[in-house]
């Protein structure tokens, strides 16, 4: 009896909150044969827009790429622009940026934890993850007035200084996060249903992961020790002491554990940054109309989703000639098919969740 392959359609109105993604699946009674992601539903033509805006006007647009972690998009673009224009950022500004970006990584991982758990069925973890995330967003609202599209990092430094009162509130929030993590880990870590849905599911070994260009926590879960904050330190990350958590067999469970451990490491970094905040200016003097001599630069940072790169080419005017963004989720999504092959089609949901992709960043 020749088996009849069924093609199924998942999305684009995918209820989980990755954004607008459509998966074309070919399934042989429950076992996944082929997965073809269809993207482009959220394409806003960012790179075309950037060519008609000045260097500073591009920054608020980068908020809308990975809208779960807008501050790290800002940092990625701003570091590339500063390297191109040769602007030296004062040390205090770099440290404040690290406080903001690591808090943003924390918030992004908490959002991911909620989405993934909800996809696999643990609906309450979504609310717990978001309650913890809201405390971090309150800090951003207090710092520069916005919670999601924050636009909290400018070319040359940061918009505002950090005072002692703000540092106290940040420490209070940091003390609250482990309590939430404790609850969530008690609910999930040793739970037989959770482990049965995640251990050994969606495996990718180190060699394939590197071949597919996977980056970020998903790559480190396969045991490849490659974190841009350690490999190519930027914005004085080399002055901080933190570990890079690694997984062993690159399945959904390891990706879950690696991101949880990264939350703890981010807390550690923010504490160190607050304790040793150097004196000095919180922003360099940047001319209002920033004209940049012709040149090109490619700079990468370790965003919560993976390695986020910006290539900028200047032509001497105040508007960039070309800005190309290397999106981590765009490359990571390519390895979804490899991870899903051989698994059951009810696992595709969990595997997609463990990849932590955001469609705003994929579609640009």
């Amino acid at each position: 009896m020749a088996f009849k392959e069924i093609d199924l359609n998942m999305g684009p109105q995918h209820p989980s909150t990755h954004g607008v993604l459509r998966l074309k699946l070919a399934v042989d009674n429950e076992v996944v044969l082929r997965v073809e992601p269809v993207i482009g539903y959220l394409h806003r033509g960012m790179e075309k827009l950037w060519e008609s805006l000045t260097y500073t006007q591009v920054v608020p647009l980068t908020d809308r790429l990975d809208y779960i972690a807008s501050l790290s998009n800002n940092l990625g673009y701003v570091l590339a622009a500063e390297k191109l224009a040769g602007i030296d950022v004062p040390r205090r500004a770099r440290w404040i940026r690290i406080v903001l970006v690591e808090l943003q990584r924390l918030a992004s991982h908490l959002a991911w934890l909620g989405f993934m758990a909800n996809d696999i069925g643990a609906m309450s973890v979504l609310l717990y993850g978001f309650e913890a995330r809201e405390t971090v967003l309150d800090l951003f609202e207090e710092y520069c007035g916005a919670r999601l599209t924050i636009h909290g990092i400018r070319i040359g430094g940061v918009p505002r200084d950090i005072d002692a009162a703000f540092a106290v509130r940040v420490r209070k929030v940091l003390d609250g996060i482990p309590k939430w993590l404790g609850d969530i880990r008690a609910l999930l870590d040793e739970n037989r249903i959770w482990k049965q849905r995640t251990v050994g599911v969606g495996r990718i070994d180190a060699a394939d992961a590197v071949a597919y260009g996977l980056t970020g926590p998903s790559l480190r879960a396969s045991g490849v020790d490659w974190d841009m904050r350690k490999a190519l330190p930027y914005s004085s990350y080399d002055e901080f002491d933190f570990e890079v958590p690694l997984g062993r067999n690159g399945d959904v469970y390891d990706r879950y554990l690696v991101r949880l451990e990264e939350i703890n490491q981010s807390i550690r970094i923010v504490r160190q940054a607050l304790d040793g905040l150097p004196e000095g200016e919180f922003s360099a003097k940047v001319p209002r109309v920033l004209k940049v001599a012709p040149g090109e630069v490619f700079h990468t940072i370790e965003a919560p989703k993976g390695v986020l790169g910006f290539y900028i080419k200047s032509n001497g005017t105040d508007k960039p000639e070309r800005v190309k963004m290397k999106s981590p989720s765009f490359i990571n999504l390519q390895s979804l098919e490899h991870m899903c092959k051989g698994n059951l089609f009810s696992d595709v949901v969990g595997i997609l969740g463990s990849l932590d992709i955001v469609l705003g960043e994929i579609d640009k």
């Binding site: 429950e30 643990a122 309450s124 717990y128 739970n191 049965q196 849905r197 089609f345 949901v349």
Partner: protein, 342 residues
Amino acid sequence: MTPFVADVLIPAGKIVAVILYPMVMVVVMIWLERRVVALIQGRLGPNRVGFQGIAQPVADALKLFFKEDIRQRQADAFLFNIAPILVMFSSLLAFCFVPLGEPIRIGTYTLTLWIAESPVGLLIILGLSSVSVFGVIFGGWASNSKYPLMGALRSVVQVLSYEIPLGLTVLTVAFVARSMDLVEIVRRQESAGVWYGFLMPVSFVVFWISAVAETNRAPFDLPEAESELVAGYHTEYSGMKFAFFYMAEYAHMVLVSSLVVLLFFGGWLPPLGGVKALAFLHAVPGFVWYLVKIMFFLYLYVWIRATFPRYRFDSLIRLVWKWLIPLSLLNFLAIALVRFLL
């Protein structure tokens, strides 16, 4: 007590009561579910419509009543329409055999708190609950589209394979109580002084797990839950037909909870009934105890749903064939051995 009243009015009253009882319990259950899941997740839940949101399910039902009831052109008309009726019918009919308390003597007339008492009441309830499986198959197949068909097949396999441990554990209770009559079983528990739930904990746990799986409830709600892919057998339904499926699922849950209470936790008996010091507990009517116990189990349903992730389908089936069925068999043998020796 003229015969007219005894033979017509009271039975008619009881029939209306049996129809209303699950309906009211369903409304309470829908509200309880949304409220408890909300409270567990740190939010308030519905508290606007009516007092503390109790009228929310009524509003939902009303909305569903006026919603357009679409049917696919290629859907098989007869089966498509009969499916929700079958599912609803089997749940409501089963409620006729659920005794709510000891018969009450009013003057010369004894009012029995159930419609029908039969020596094999237990079997009838189990039989009726598997009739609803037909509703699921017809609903899924008649919708003539991929997702409902797969959802229906999955639900059927799950319900059928979980009926085996369910049956076996019910067998142990009937074996110990030497009768299939629910009222008899409760009286046996009263005379034995201990509830079967504590006497045979393994039977209770296996029964409860199979009951949760039987009603397609979390963490076994895979066929329905993957709304993005397989929305379960009632994907193509809308309006009142969907409301029927929805209410039937909750009615099925209430039915199974009352079964658990009757078989394992001594129906309408006050807790620690035998202890002389707590004799005043008997003053409270049996029906109240019965309701309190059912509410606990309904709460347990929602509590489990809010806590655990979903099982994947293959391990859900492996669980029942590799663990629950052998366990219930062993348990049955053990109890038979103990009874034989005593």
